[in-house]
Symmetry: C2
Subunit: 100 residues, 2 copies
DNA sequence: CGTGTAAGGAATTCTGACACG
DNA sequence: CGTGTAAGGAATTCTGACACG
């Protein structure tokens, strides 16, 4: 389930190259709690490929003029939707033994 | 086929943390042509998760006392085996239309 | 609100070399 | 052969702040 995609190993300069977003923007989106990089002992931010995909989506939304707090709200809702779906799926499977 | 696993985005310090190998060792294995990191414009080495797995294997071999040129030879052979298998599989499939 | 920039410091990475073995 | 280390320079990253709007 968690693999390379979620390992936080990419430094901010590389994220800048991969996403085209400025270092300032990347740090700002963290300040607004849209992304959550890890920190090395020294304090350097480390990002995952999943973070990079999130940043790409954020970039798109921003281009459409969507504000950061709205993006954050939407992402939270998307997450809820996903969790609810997972729980329902689990309940259904438990009930009908669809899996295994 | 190529995805996150092969993207060269990890700097040598992080590779050190992930593999336990010293920075000196990581650079040396490149000198011996066991691994091939990419370089950023500035010259910084960038590694993929695949490189990290290769380095882990190298570390195991080295612990067994295997020398770098032997490791290199073995890796080349493993690659040949893999290519031959792929070609045979392709020929067989073309002949018997096993796929799609 | 979102992003640019100059500021100063601390840690990273690079190469070539000497050392030991 | 494989790895450690000190050396000097160049680029990275960090934070807090001022700027514009």
């Amino acid at each position: 389930m968690s693999s390379y995609k979620d390992k936080k190993v990419i430094s901010i300069g590389t994220v800048n190259e991969l996403t085209g977003l400025s270092v300032r923007q990347i740090r700002y989106y963290e300040e607004r709690e849209l992304i959550f990089p890890e920190r090395t002992k020294r304090g350097t931010r480390k990002y995952s490929f999943a973070d990079i995909e999130t940043l790409m989506k954020i970039a798109d939304k921003r281009e459409e003029g969507v504000q950061t707090y709205e993006i954050k709200r939407d992402m939270a809702n998307d997450n809820k939707d996903h969790m609810i779906e997972q729980m329902l799926r689990g309940q259904l499977n438990a009930h009908f033994r669809l899996n295994k």
